[in-house]
Symmetry: C2
Subunit: 231 residues, 2 copies
DNA sequence: GGTTGACCTAAAGTGCGATTCCGGTCAACA
DNA sequence: TGTTGACCGGAATCGCACTTTAGGTCAACC
C-alpha cells in the first residue's frame, strides 16, 4: 500500500534531477521521468501526489546530502565550524551540486519555489542560532554590527559573481574559496587562536542541529499520503 | 547647426530619465519624451541621431555626475581614497541614483547595453590602475591573492543583496555602508595607520584619472553629428 | 494489489491576418 | 534656420481558431 519501493523512489529522483538540469522544470514531463526509469507514469504518482511534490522531494534529498557532507567534515574535524573554514567549505560543496546552484540562482527555471520557502526558514533559524553560539563563545568578532547582514552581503557576491560576468571564471573554484576564507577570517574572526573547548562545544551543538535538519529533510522526501486530497 | 540648445538637451535627458524609471526603456516613446518637454519629436532628433544614443547620453550624464560627486569628496579629503572609505562612499552614492542602480542591476529592462559596455571597459582599467597604485604605496594589503576578484566578490553582495530578498531592507543604507567599511578595512587594508604622503600621492593620481574619465563622459553626452548616416 | 498507459481535460503553444505602435524622416512652416 | 508633426514602413501586439502538450485519473491487467 503506502510502501512503494524506496530504492525505486531514488531512481525516480535521479532521473528527475538529470532531466531538470538538462531541460528545466517546465519542459520535464512526468512521463519523461517515468520512461527514463523504465516504469509507467502512474507508478510515479504512487510515490508523490503531484509533480511539484516530486521536485520538492528532489531538492530535499539534495539539501540533505549536502548537509550530510558538511556534517561529515565537522565530525572529522570540529575546527571546521570556524567561519573561515565553514563558509568556504559550504561554498565549494554548493558549487559542486548543480541542482543546488540552480536553486540558489533563482527560480528562473524551476519555480517549484514552495520547497525553497519552507527550507529557507529553517536554515535562517539555524544560521541565527549558530551565529549566537559563535558569538557567545568568542569564535566570532563581537564588534561587527548587523552581523547577519554583514555575513550575508559579504558572502553573496561569491555565489553570484560568475552569474553576472565571466571575467573571473578562469580562477579555479578552490582559489576563490581561499579568497573567501581570507575575507571571512580577517573581517569576522578575532585575531587570537580560537579556544579549542569553545570549538568543540559549538561543533557539538551545530552537529546535532544539523543532524536534526537532515532528518527533517529525509522525512519529507519519501512521505506519501494517498488519502489526503490535493489542495 | 550642430549647436542645439544645450540646456534644452538637459531637459530632454531629465524627462527621459524620469520616464525610463517609470516605464522602462521599451515603453518610453521618443514622442513621450518630446511631449513631456513641450517640444516636437523632430527636435529630439536634432540632439541625438536615434533613441539609443539619447539614452546612452543619459547614462553618461548620470555617470559623470556620480563621478563628480566622488571627485569632490576626494578633493575635500584625500583620505577618501582609502578603500574602506572609497568603496562605501561609492556604495551610498550609487544607491541614491536610481538610474545607476537600474543600470547595474542588469539590462533587464533597459538594454541600451552598448553604452554600458564601452564605459565598463574604461572603469575596469581605472580600477586596475587604482589597485596597483594602492598596492605600490602600501595602502592595501599585499597578501591577498586575486585581489581584483576578492574585492569584486566581497562587494557585489552589498549591491545585489536587496534585489534577492527583502529581509534586510529594514537596515538603513548608512548602516549597510558601515558594515561594508568594516569588512573592507579589516580584510583588505594593512593594520597600521596609512602614510599621509602615500595617501596624497594616490589621491592626486586618482583625482586626475577621474577628471579625465568625467571629461570623456561629458564629451559623449551632447555630441551630435547630423551628417553621419546611421548604421 | 501493485502497476500500467489509454484517456480526459485544461492549459499552453501555433499560425496568421488585422491592427496598433513607434522610430526615424522631411517637406512645410515660422 | 531652427522647429515641427504628418507621414512612412517595419515591427510588435492582438484576436482567434486550431493543434499539441502534459498533469492527473482509473479501469483493466498480471
Amino acid at each position: 500500500m503506502s510502501h512503494p519501493n524506496r530504492e525505486r523512489a531514488d531512481r525516480i529522483l535521479d532521473a528527475a534531477g538529470e532531466l531538470l538540469l538538462r531541460m528545466g522544470y517546465r519542459k520535464v514531463a512526468v512521463d519523461d521521468i517515468a520512461r527514463a526509469v523504465g516504469i509507467g507514469k502512474g507508478t510515479v504518482y504512487l510515490h508523490w501526489r503531484n509533480k511539484e511534490l516530486l521536485f520538492q522531494a528532489l531538492m530535499m534529498r539534495e539539501s540533505a546530502d549536502l548537509t550530510d557532507e558538511i556534517l561529515g567534515r565537522i565530525k572529522a574535524d570540529p575546527a571546521m565550524i570556524l567561519p573561515h573554514r565553514m563558509i568556504p567549505a559550504s561554498f565549494l560543496v554548493t558549487h559542486r551540486r548543480p541542482l543546488v546552484m540552480a536553486m540558489l540562482r533563482g527560480n528562473a527555471d524551476m519555480f517549484g519555489s514552495l520547497g525553497d520557502l519552507a527550507l529557507r526558514k529553517q536554515q535562517d533559524e539555524l544560521r541565527t542560532q549558530f551565529e549566537e553560539a559563535m558569538l557567545r563563545r568568542g569564535l566570532i568578532r563581537s564588534d561587527v554590527p548587523n552581523l547577519t547582514y554583514a555575513l550575508n552581503a559579504s558572502t553573496l557576491g561569491f555565489y553570484l559573481g560568475d552569474t553576472l560576468s565571466d571575467e573571473f571564471d578562469g580562477i579555479p573554484l578552490e582559489d576563490k574559496a581561499e579568497v573567501l576564507a581570507h575575507m571571512i577570517r580577517t573581517a569576522f574572526e578575532p585575531s587570537g587562536e580560537p579556544d579549542p573547548a569553545a570549538v568543540a562545544d559549538v561543533a557539538a551543538e551545530l552537529g546535532s542541529a544539523l543532524e536534526e535538519l537532515v532528518s527533517g529533510y529525509r522525512q519529507g522526501i519519501y512521505a506519501h499520503d494517498p488519502t489526503k486530497a490535493p489542495g
